[in-house]
Amino acid sequence: MDNLQAIMPMLIVTLAAMATMLAEAFRRKDERMPIGGLGVIGLVGAIAAAGLLWDRNAVGFGVIQADNFSLFVTVVVAVIGLFTIMFSSEVVEREGIPSGEYYTLTLFSVVGMMMMASATDLLVIFIALEIMSIAVYVLTGIKRTDAAGTEASFKYFLLGSFSSAFFLYGIAFSYAVSGSTRLDALSTAIAQSASAPGPMVWLAMGLLLVGFAFKVSAVPFHMWTPDAYEGAPTVVTGFMSTGVKAAAVAAFLRVFLSAFEPLRGDWTQLLTWIAMLTMVVGTVVGVAQTNVKRMLAYSSIAHAGYLLAGIIAASAIGKSAVLFYLASYAVANVGAFGVIAFIATRERNTGELTDFTGLWYAKPMLAVLMAVFLLSLGGFPPMAGFIAKWYIFAAAVNEGFYTLAIVGVLTSVVSVFFYLRIVVMMFMSSNKAELEVPPFGIVGTLGLALAAIATFYLGILPTRLIDLATQSISTIF
């Protein structure tokens, strides 16, 4: 029974995913069915289950650990899934996405994400990674008639498989080091040889690092990001830019701060360079973009850099910085992509910057919400992004990573420039030509409002979430 307890959130979402699949099978051709509602039920159930499991530290099958850390990430991922489903309710139909498959795949990939955060065995992490990734590859190309989507999906799949191979290779070397794929065994083995780690250890660490870096889209493994984000349907982009990143960061944290913790001094050096490069490339290239989805893709690369900085500097004060950052980035980013999805029509759905011209005159609330999300991503008070960035930089300064903090601060100033470009387009463009925005219903509006409220709430009263984040990260190191 204990075994099942630990996997309860995943189990609930899996059941919901199966229910959506069945519902789709029984749907008559033109029947409208609120399939998304099943997903909502599943995700809310998962959140409730995670709440009940809090502080229980349940272990399932020896490889799934429902500790506070994984439960925190589970909730974040479930919330991302909820937002995605809420935004999708109108968009899916308008864009001609097959709804049954869409919701099923989304839910399955959520299961993968949850599992990735909870697994304590490298092989299970790999399985989770694949559950998540394959679903997302398909979601990227779910509009089969759309050339850009198919291309993006194919690229993403190829590069993703590559990185999975690296990851698997890393697992193989880890096995060679410790004779087990379990993280605790690996941890013991590495701790024993920490004074003089052999080449096997380095290979294992490096290859795993590549695999994770790919999934969080850190430079130089970020190449797939802009194409995949641009080509995928916008709601899917919102989902994968937040969910995949959250899950990957969670697993990254668990593997590197528990198993490879003894070698921390070494991998932080390497990671510092990666983080700085990621921030710089993400922002500088982001400035040159004229497509909002691409721009936000580079922004998400830059945010990966901040997240890595949080991992590097995780310590007394900044311990919970990464988790807090993850949550605040997720609500703002998923909200921003929600707005992009809402203003797209069947013909005009590529997210060009010019599509935003005069949005404020056509749909003032959408423009204001978009501005809130963008400013939060840019790290402006009183939005969540401010506290989140503050936390990361404080942690970096505290740990003596001054260069990292300075690069982070400077790139976040530059990044504001491209967020503002969108704001300028929406609010200050003199061209007041009628922008046609398709109607959107109550569910999507509610979703956007909730995301905005969360953004403000985390920015003004962050204490509660910070405490939870601190409690949860304490369980892994």
């Binding site: 402006f380 008070p381 401010f386 506290i387 300064v397 100033v413 420039f417 609010f427 200050m428």
Partner: protein, 524 residues
């Protein structure tokens, strides 16, 4: 009145506006005006209830935990200077909103929301006694101002808005790094994580760290002031901002920079402050003269006033960094004065711009003939700006010069030159716009000030005379704050400070004070 109420009044107004339907234009304007002036009314008791003789550095203190895990608190309170700044903020906020009644017709709901949120941010920055809280408000000011310039501004508004935003943002993130460095130093020394400003006043910071933190703070605040060579955003922002935006920018936002020096840089980093004096004085002097020369060369009325701001703010910083009681008192008074007179000058430009839609100086001329009342108020404010005795500018400038003179005669001399140049460009501006023949036919039919417009100037005129004739109540309120700062930054002259501060205003307290301007019954 509690500070929180003062802080929240404009915000509540903004929220009410948010809920109002867009088509109720009249209602929106009324709500905005009511909210802004209610904000002024609830802040007014600060004038009487603030007790300059109190032993506490900060009064009206409210403290409650905000983010306990990092030691951030909702900690607000005011000393004499911030009390005056809060009063100035609520007054200028009301004036700016009333002045916008007919000037803005586009998207007025959002316009007033932006103004009220901006007001909240400014008040918050002046009352925050927690570094993180201060920083939050310091940044919050940025966004509504950006929208005000970018949406309701004139010709090159996009360029100006972005420039304003990025300049200030660069400054503030560097400021943030400085705050972090201090924060961790406090933790290293005392083992406590705290942003409580008063803790830092007694903290001993090693010289090397002081230097770096001072540099970071300096960058953050001097961009906001703005000091030469970081001033280039200001003329653009002012020129393209709507009138109310310019008024608030000049009267209040720039003060956030000098307030930052006063509240944070100087008392927290006294050694670095002393080291920095020559450099800052140099930059201030360049700012004073260069700003004045630039002002003289402008063809654009508003740009001219903007450059005059650069010059005047140079004066303010110079007085502050003279580190003498007189100089600091003068600087603080002059900040209020600058708010009053430059605020009024921008309002005045706004009045004719609303009628003529041009700011070019040569588009005017002979206006005094058609708008006599306007010309009279403009004259008064010109005189206030150039420091004519009996008006407010004089008091501040004399105190600053006096305070600077004892430190360096050269500085005082150059600053004096700046004042002369100031008189030149302002009088020349007055001459070109108000006197002479009417050269443009459009100007013949210009209407003089209406009742609402006069109403916006009345408080400023009263203040100009009041501070000019009887500055004592202001100086009294500032005295304890100045005293504390001097004790911290120049302990060697702190002993005689109190006497000097009290001696100075008496010299200017004109014998015949009109009964109407006789203030401050509650000063004990």
């Amino acid at each position: 009145m509690s500070l929180t109420l003062i802080l929240l009044t404009p915000l509540v107004g903004a929220l009410v506006l948010l809920a109002m339907p867009r088509r109720l234009e009249g209602g929106i304007k009324i709500v905005a005006n009511v909210a802004a002036w209610a904000g002024f009314l609830v802040s007014l008791p600060l004038w009487w209830q603030f007790d300059p003789s109190s032993a506490d550095q900060f009064q009206f203190v409210t403290r409650s935990p905000w983010i306990p895990s990092i030691g951030a608190e909702y900690h607000t309170g005011i000393d004499g200077f911030s009390a005056l700044l809060v009063l100035l903020t609520t007054l200028m906020g009301g004036i700016a909103i009333t002045a916008s009644w007919s000037a803005v017709s586009l998207r007025i709901k959002e316009y007033y929301i932006a103004l009220l949120v901006l007001q909240t941010g400014v008040i918050g920055a002046f009352i925050a006694l927690d570094l993180l809280l201060f920083f939050l408000f310091f940044e919050v000011m940025l966004v509504p101002m950006y929208f005000l310039i970018g949406i309701w501004g004139s010709d090159r508004r996009l360029y100006s808005a972005i420039k304003f935003f990025l300049y200030t943002l660069v400054g503030s993130v560097v400021l943030l790094l400085g705050i972090l460095a201090l924060y961790f130093h406090l933790h290293a020394v005392t083992g406590v994580y705290s942003f409580d400003v008063t803790r830092y006043y007694t903290l001993d910071v090693p010289p090397r760290l002081q230097f770096w933190v001072f540099l970071a703070f300096f960058l953050g605040f001097s961009i906001k002031v703005p000091m030469f060579p970081f001033h280039t955003w200001l003329p653009d922002a002012h020129t393209d901002a709507p009138t109310a935006g310019s008024v608030i920018l000049a009267a209040l936002l720039l003060k956030a920079g000098t307030y930052g020096f006063f509240r944070f840089s100087m008392p927290m980093l006294p050694d670095a402050t002393r080291e920095a004096v020559p450099w800052i004085a140099l930059l201030s002097l360049i700012g004073i003269v260069y700003g004045a020369l630039c002002a003289m060369a402008q063809q654009d009325w508003k740009r001219l006033v903007a450059y005059s701001s650069v010059s005047h703010m140079g004066m303010v910083v110079l007085g502050l960094f003279a580190l003498t009681p007189t100089g600091i008192t003068g600087s603080l008074i002059q900040q209020i004065n600058h708010g009053v007179s430059t605020g009024a000058l921008f309002l005045l430009v706004g009045v004719v711009y609303e009628r003529r839609h041009t700011r070019q100086i040569d588009a005017y001329g002979g206006i005094a003939a058609v708008m006599p009342l306007y010309a009279a108020i403009f004259l008064l404010m010109t005189m206030s700006s150039i420091g004519l005795p009996a008006l407010n500018g004089f008091v501040g400038e004399v105190l600053i010069l006096q305070g600077t003179f004892v430190v360096s005669k050269v500085w005082a001399g150059v600053a004096g030159l700046g004042i002369i140049l100031g008189a030149a460009y302002m009088l020349w501006l007055y001459q070109r716009t108000m006197f002479g023949e009417i050269t443009h036919d459009e100007n013949r039919g210009l209407k003089d000030l209406g009742l609402r417009e006069v109403f916006t100037f009345v408080p400023l005129i009263i203040l100009a005379f009041w501070i000019g004739l009887y500055p004592k109540p202001f100086v009294d309120r500032l005295a304890p704050a100045v005293q504390r700062l001097v004790e911290r930054v120049s302990p060697e002259i702190a002993a005689g400070a109190a006497a000097a501060v009290h001696a100075v205003p008496d010299a200017h307290a004109a014998p015949a004070v009109p009964a109407t301007t006789h203030p401050a019954p509650g000063v004990h």
